[in-house]
Amino acid sequence: MRHILSILLENEAGALSRVVGLFSARAYNIDSLTVSTTEDPTLSRMTIVTHGSDEVIEQITKQLNKLIEVVKVIDLNESDHIEREMMLIKVRANGKDREEMKRMADIFRGRIIDVTEKTYTIELTGTSDKLNAFIEAIDRSVILETVRTGASGIGRGERILKI
């Protein structure tokens, strides 16, 4: 099953490679990984999307916690949460495609952020499923390039991940 793990870790050189190394050394899956510093510059916040059986996810969580630089780990799946991913997608926007792409971007609440005679670059934010759905919805042959950030997640309501 797909899980979103939120990790708070020391913002130190090498911390990221420890996390990534752990996943490859123990043959865990990384579907996506995002990381950046938080409002507290000594801390980074990472979101990892992974999948595996309950046993594997339990081990991943424990192994992450075991890393000295990891401060906290939560599995967002354990309660209500919000996830967002951003995609920049460059599409061919020629002739009849141009109108169609604009319409699709609107339907998915995307924003066209760069325009040339032949292309649009669309910024789209949502769950990873929504971004997938957009890619499915448009004609594959018009896609020139996609860049995705990977999902970021946060608990709903009062639930916070902090030290």
Binding site: A13, R18, Q63
Partner: protein
């Protein structure tokens, strides 16, 4: 006053009460060696290969309560140390390894003797550091020792660029250390401890399975007290040997791939299992599904949550330090007066005694060939069971584990998790330095000893009079055994041809060497080696042992704990399968 980084390092090691640093010099650590030259507080032990420095530091730690320290230069010095680091990591041994690194501006330039030590060792250390700022050096050393020894112990690497050792700074050694992201648990959850005790109070066939965590956690006294007060059977893993006294009636021997019949059968058929600092290793329980096919309730005490429910789902996980958890358990048992129902226990012991009566460690004595098991038994007798025994990896290691019933923890030092040939001799040197008055023997094979035989020179220099007990079967015996069983006796590359004359080698290094070919000579020669006359000498005993001897019992890959390959004398016995609720009434 400002002092150099090298001096800061040396002062920090002194602050940690370091007695010995095992190491080997080179360009990147010259500054450090100069600072070592100018101090007297700790001793440096110059090994002959960096791998040996790490093994010696590791065994120094295994045989004491201290953190071992090794020092190596950058590049090849650092890579040579990696096998030693991985060995310590797999067995959870606290150690600090200091490696030199090229100067900070040269990092990443493919500089001379540059290797990314932090990157190379990342998967086989508890933690590692690259110190780029001299002002962080002292605090990093403090953290390294703290991390190495607390929680689940393990090796910590501190990589120090040469320019950091040369720069100047004030020295302040922090008094304490706290790391917000690292807070090991010590006390177990009282509710969980209560559950464990309640399970015992209803148990039909309780069993206590004790591993290396009880040795590392100095919990031998608590283990023994608990087992005694409950009157239950106890087994040790290879790493746990000595945590419970090996000669005691309640001890069933080692379990696992080469465990005793009774220890393995009890593991399979117990109904309440208390795992104490043991990690359900594949060499212990083989296939988890087969192990669990016989229903049992499992309590697992471990300081590392990731050891729990890794291979086997458990009913009562208890995260905490074994010593504390067992103490709390004992106190609770005393308080509530709970015990295992006596009739259950009596029946369980009858079953166990039946298993034990087959004597699965029996071997056929010989007047013609020296039986390796016999050598170990005689060694036990002659050392009064008190020697510190190190070993290498192979058949000899298993015979040492099976036939030398260790009395106390930290008496048996071997590489279990990584299975590193070449561990034994440097480990013996480290153990002897940590225990100057102890008898130290290294049980080895002619294959393994050659992986670090150069350390005979170190032993000479530092007067470590260890006794090398080579069970020389002219084979990579453990490999040969597998080839005999599973590869149609095709002994591919397992014959040790062109063996050196070990007696001459020992003599060339300034030691005593004795070759033993006749079974009748085993005992007198061992007596001689351990006699006062040779007390101060390293003695290398080259026992020419039976080439075809195999280690039994043995659990083949994919087989269960109750599906052992048995020694010859047990093969024709009609052993009734285990029966739940059997009536033991008429058995004597």
């Amino acid at each position: 006053m400002q002092i150099s980084g090298a001096e800061i390092l040396v002062r920090s090691l002194q602050e940690e009460g370091v007695e010995f640093v095992f190491g080997y010099p080179g360009g990147a650590v010259l500054e450090i060696y100069d600072a070592i030259f100018r101090q007297q507080q700790f001793k440096h032990v110059l090994v002959r290969h960096e791998q040996a420095a790490v093994h010696a530091a590791d065994a120094y730690s295994r045989s004491s309560n201290k953190v071992g320290v090794a020092l190596v230069t950058s590049g090849p010095g650092a890579t040579n140390a990696v096998t030693g680091i991985a060995t310590a990591y797999m067995d959870s041994i606290p150690m600090v390894v200091i490696s030199g690194q090229v100067s900070t501006p040269a990092i990443g330039m493919d500089a001379f003797q540059e290797v990314d030590m932090v990157g190379i060792t990342r998967p086989c250390v508890k933690h590692n550091f690259l110190v780029k700022d001299i002002n962080e050096l002292a605090a990093t050393i403090k953290k390294a020792f703290y991390i190495a020894a607390s929680g689940r112990p393990g090796p910590v690497v501190v990589d120090i660029p040469k320019d950091v050792t040369q720069r100047l700074a004030e020295f302040h050694y922090p008094e304490s250390v706290s790391i917000r992201s690292y807070v090991p648990v010590t006390r177990g959850h009282p509710g969980q401890i209560k559950k464990a005790v309640n399970l015992l109070a209803e148990a039909k066939r309780p069993y206590i399975y004790v591993g290396g965590g009880a040795v590392q956690g100095n919990a031998s006294a608590e283990v023994t007290e608990l087992v005694k007060m409950l009157g239950v059977p106890c087994t040790n893993t290879l790493m746990g040997l000595g945590a419970y006294p090996g000669q005691d009636q309640q001890f069933l021997g080692m379990l696992g791939m080469h465990g005793t019949y009774e220890a393995n059968m009890a593991m399979q058929y117990c109904d309440v299992l208390i795992a104490v600092g043991a990690r359900f290793d594949d060499r212990v329980i083989s296939v988890p599904s087969h192990f669990l096919s016989q229903p049992k309730k499992i309590v697992h005490i471990d300081v590392d949550p990731s050891s729990i429910a890794k291979r086997v789902k458990v009913d009562v996980p208890i995260v905490g330090d074994v010593k504390h958890v067992l103490r709390d358990m004992i106190d609770l048992l005393k308080q509530t007066g709970q015990q295992v129902p006596p009739q259950n226990l009596a029946n369980w012991w009858k079953q166990i005694e039946e298993w034990r009566s087959y004597n699965s460690l029996l071997y056929t004595p010989s007047n013609e060939f020296i039986k390796p098991q016999y050598v170990v038994q005689k060694l036990y007798e002659i050392t009064g069971g008190d020697a510190i025994i190190t070993s290498d990896v192979g058949q000899h290691q298993m015979w040492a584990a099976q036939y030398y019933p260790f009395k106390r923890p930290k008496q048996w030092l071997n590489s279990g998790g990584l299975g590193t040939m070449g561990f034994g001799l440097p480990a013996a040197i480290g153990a002897q330095l940590a225990n100057p008055d102890a008898q130290v023997a290294c049980i080895t094979g002619e294959g393994s000893i050659q992986m670090n035989i150069q350390e005979l020179s170190t032993a000479k220099q530092y007067h470590t009079p260890v006794k090398v007990i080579a069970l020389n079967n002219r084979y990579l015996g453990m490999v040969r055994q597998w080839q005999e069983f599973f590869y149609g006796t095709r002994y591919s590359e397992s014959y040790m041809d062109a063996l050196p004359d070990f007696v001459k080698i020992a003599e060339a290094y300034g030691h005593v060497g004795i070759k033993v070919e006749n079974p009748a000579d085993v005992e007198p020669v061992l007596r001689e080696a351990f006699s006062p006359a040779l007390k101060e000498r390293l003695v290398f005993l080259d026992f020419r042992t039976d080439q075809s001897e195999n280690v039994f019992p043995m659990i083949q890959n994919g087989k269960g704990l109750d599906q052992m390959d048995l020694p010859p004398h047990m093969r024709d016995l009609q052993i009734a399968p285990f029966e739940n609720n059997r009536d033991y009434g008429n058995m004597c």
